[in-house]
Subunit: 222 residues, 3 copies
């Protein structure tokens, strides 16, 4: 039962992230190989970083090539069917929210299984949830969703914290995963719907200054 839920979440996250990669490729009018590359980079990028940092090598998709093949399959499906106009960018953001929430939980899960401390498990949840999207946006020339003004990384952090806390408190795997996923997804969804953001660092008067290279040579305070 537990492993069914964990496995479903895992594949579900991979698939929605792969779709977002393919959607970015469609926005850039790439060819089918470009679709596959972006789908794979988005779907497996976060988990690759997690596995490398934890020393779980060969990384998961080398051990189970099915992950890579599913990404390519998703890319093919999107390439031949992604004709739904206009709303595509909003679909991308919502799928990205699902993938982020899933990977925040499964990233922490795999890290805990590797025997790391709760702090690191949370960090791995955040990294797994966010790195795939960063790679997608950098390769596709998009403004990184991770830097969007609405809450994003914070939602991944919340999901990973909730999951790790529940596991530490003795809650079973399945409910912990579902509650963690729900916390991350709902926070991100609310942030997108209502434009929520954390308080930002505010510039003070007199702070603005020129960043041209001659600034670097100034002797005195600018």
């Amino acid at each position: 039962m537990v492993s069914v839920i964990a496995t479903s979440l895992d594949w579900g996250g991979l698939i929605v992230f792969a779709i977002t990669g393919a959607l970015v490729a469609s926005r850039k009018q790439m060819d089918i190989v470009g679709f596959s590359l972006l789908a794979a980079a988005t779907g497996i990028g976060g988990g690759t970083f997690r596995d490398l940092a934890l020393g779980l090598t060969p990384v998961f998709w080398v051990r189970q090539p099915a992950y890579l093949l599913v990404c390519v399959g998703v890319a093919l499906a999107v390439f031949f069917t992604a004709h739904i106009p206009q709303s595509r960018y909003r679909i991308l953001l919502w799928l990205d929210a699902i993938g982020m929430a899933v990977f925040a939980v499964t990233g922490a899960q795999i890290a805990l299984a590797a025997g790391v401390s709760p702090t690191i498990a949370i960090a791995m949840g955040v990294a797994t949830a966010t790195f795939g999207g960063v790679i997608r946006d950098v390769l596709g020339g998009e403004s990184p969703v991770i830097l969007s003004h609405e809450i994003y990384v914070t939602a991944a952090l919340l999901g990973a914290c909730v999951y790790v806390f529940l596991i530490s408190a003795g809650v079973a795997e399945a409910p912990a995963a579902i509650v963690g996923f729900g916390a991350a997804f709902l926070l991100r969804a609310a942030a997108m719907r209502y434009g929520w953001s954390l308080p930002r660092y505010r510039p003070r008067p007199g702070r603005a200054f020129d960043l041209s290279s001659k600034d670097r040579h100034r002797g005195g305070p600018g």
Copy 2:
């Protein structure tokens, strides 16, 4: 005999990729250290990713520092001799095609030797062939050759597939490597010469929409 060919290909690919890195540095008028950095990142970047993902650590250039030293030597040579004007960008593209074709084969070769499945060996061939150039273009501020409209990644994919298929079919190492290299190089060369590209995803009417941040807040379909 086999290992002579494999070793020659390996060093040849490293050297031509290092040259392309140094040529990008020359276009950016970097200093000698910048030349060395770009030459090394291009020459060893793809193989570093391959070794990390496969768990072959320490990575190859840590085990054999000569790889790094050759990149630095190439950088020095280009720094003091790269005066051939005008045609430099075309030279860069042709050398890049050779390096790509070589690394598509040797990347797959090393992955197979590490015991992975054919699917992963092909993926490693593609990754080894393309990542060095991506790093070069990102560091040098160039438009990534991987996203060029002419066939590029597809050529690496073809070379890796041909090599892995021939090895699986019992063909000896040397002919398999040479045929794989030839397939990748000739496809890329034809694509550059005749402007070949795969069919691209085509936008449909009504698909265009504004990507400014206010789009992210819209409630209804844009």
Copy 3:
């Protein structure tokens, strides 16, 4: 005694690099989570690459979560106190110079302890010293300090070379580390102060040409 100095340098380098990451976040008016991400990426990015390439996994901050927590603490401190106007970019450059000089030495130190050759130890010093800053500048959308016209990577190279040479010559750990740090920091400081740079590759007449995509199709010399 030795380990006190090594540990102090190590934490000192982490803290100043984390501060520079948080300062870039303040320039971009990020929220507290953005501050933490940039501080952590800058503080631990170089060492993460070093550990991965050397096969020292799990990487250092997975083994010792305190590194990550200190970066987050630094981010919080900067978020609530970084009101000193105007001179912030110059502070950033000077702190960056300290962090670079520290990590050039500690990167080489850890590599030597892992049993690699002097060449690789020097390369690891340079990589550890420069990669964190590259990640910071890429994530923060700044022009990479590594590509600044004043000497930068060369200073890291000098520090790592001096340290490795002194250790090879039988000098004790502590003085070797201090002299290596001093060499890297003073060279970078002088370069910033007086605008020093290495001779750069100079374009020759007739070298300039158009880089638009149609260039890629030209048959003859441009």
